[in-house]
Amino acid sequence: MWSWELFWDSFSALLPGLWITFAATVCGALLAYVLGLVFALIRQVRVPVLSQITFGLVEFIRSTPLLVQIFFFYWVVQPWMGVQWSAFWSGTIALGLHYACYTSEVYRAGIDAVPKGQWEASTALSLPRRRTWTGVILPQAIPRVLPALGNYTISMFKETPLLLAIGVIDIVGAAKDFGADHYSVEEAYTMAGIFFLVLSFPSSILVRRLERRFVKH
């Protein structure tokens, strides 16, 4: 049943999917980094109302399945907003939004880890609030959160295949198509698994290096 020929053939068939997976991970991650910081700041600065809404949204999104959110974004939010993005962009934004709810907590922990004395010294020097954030607090908080952001990026990479549910042809989507074309699915799915394994390993080693460099125990 197992065909080595199909197995090797599936390699090149999956490559275009790999780029889609990469693109979705990178774009989704950038969105998650930025949006997560915005969420964290809204909560830290305690913007009235907005802060509570953000808290509720973050809790809700974090407690419900990404797959349903991807559907919801594609089939409901998009038409409602009157826009027509491609499945790729719609799914990537849903992915980024989902993970922003995790990164916001990461930023929050990083900001909380900056000693209170740094705020007090900034007050004693009369530094404006904005400058205290951009010049003192965030430059100290962000290096601390890089390893955690890295870990979430790897998680995102492994969740991008969910985009195939709205028709994005990523690695797994490509494996599915390949399987359907050749009436044999096991080779391509195995190859897809190997793709993930081979790519996850070096990135997680990189994250561990980051950890050692930035998180002092």
């Binding site: 990404l66 349903v68 990026t153 998680s155 797994v172 125990h217």
Partner: protein, 245 residues
């Protein structure tokens, strides 16, 4: 718009038992595998450690959807035996989250202060007694917040079973979508709220356990301000592949 609400509710609720079965089944397998693989990671035997490592890194390093497709679609062809999709799904949920749980158990056991182990040695406990009577009761409470997260992740992952035709909630919603295109928002909102409610239930149960465990150790229960703690159990150093959020 709300004319069909009752009908949607009825259809979606038909999927709820499958979601619950998958969650509970997955949690059961997760607990068993976490403990076995987690303790195996700390084993004195290099072979045992190695095998456990392969399992943990293999499942944490690949995409859950790939694992699901592989076990539900590819494996039956290779072994010539067709698993019921729900069972295949439960197996994948358990295997995947068990790999993350193994790191949780390992970390919790290692977090027990060394003096406790030395105290047990001084009392001439056997290694098995040490583990059962001294280390595990203390490690147990440490595992609860990360396991709370892990179980919520597992609940969320049950939605993937829709992609291998398990008639759980998300699948039910997908069945309705082509027919009620314009009202699909209501359908999704119903299942999102149901998922959220199930998360709340998981957190509630885990917090009860945590409080009970804290009482047994004579500690004060920890205060939580969020439903899950996305940083609890985040691997910081020592573990290989990224964290399950």
């Amino acid at each position: 718009m709300l004319d069909n609400f009752g009908y949607f509710w009825e259809v979606v609720l038909k999927g709820l038992p499958y979601t619950v079965y998958a969650t509970l089944g997955g949690i059961a397998i997760t607990i068993v595998l976490s403990v076995i693989a987690g303790l195996a990671l700390l084993s004195g035997s290099r072979t045992v450690r190695f095998i456990s490592r392969i399992y943990v890194e293999g499942f944490r390093g690949t995409s859950e959807l790939v694992q699901l497709f592989w076990i539900a679609l590819a494996l039956p062809i290779l072994i010539g035996f067709q698993l019921v999709p729900l069972w295949a799904g439960i197996l994948v949920l358990g295997l995947n989250h068990g790999a993350y749980g193994a790191e949780v158990v390992r970390g919790a056991v290692q977090s027990v202060p060394k003096a406790q182990v030395e105290g047990a040695v001084a009392l001439n406990f056997t290694p098995a007694q040490r583990m059962r009577r001294v280390i595990l009761p203390q490690a147990f409470i440490e595992t609860l917040p990360p396991f709370n997260n892990l179980f919520i992740q597992l609940l969320k992952s049950t939605a993937l079973l829709a992609l291998v035709s398990v008639p759980e909630m998300t699948k039910q919603a997908e069945e309705l979508r082509p027919i009620f295109g314009g009202q699909v928002g209501v359908i999704y909102l119903i299942i999102l709220v149901l998922y959220f409610a199930l998360s709340v239930v998981i957190t509630f149960v885990m917090r009860l356990l945590e409080r009970a465990a804290a009482r047994r150790l004579g500690r004060r229960p920890v205060k939580h301000d969020t439903l899950s703690d996305p940083l609890a159990g985040m691997p910081v150093g020592g573990s290989a592949l990224g964290g399950k959020p």
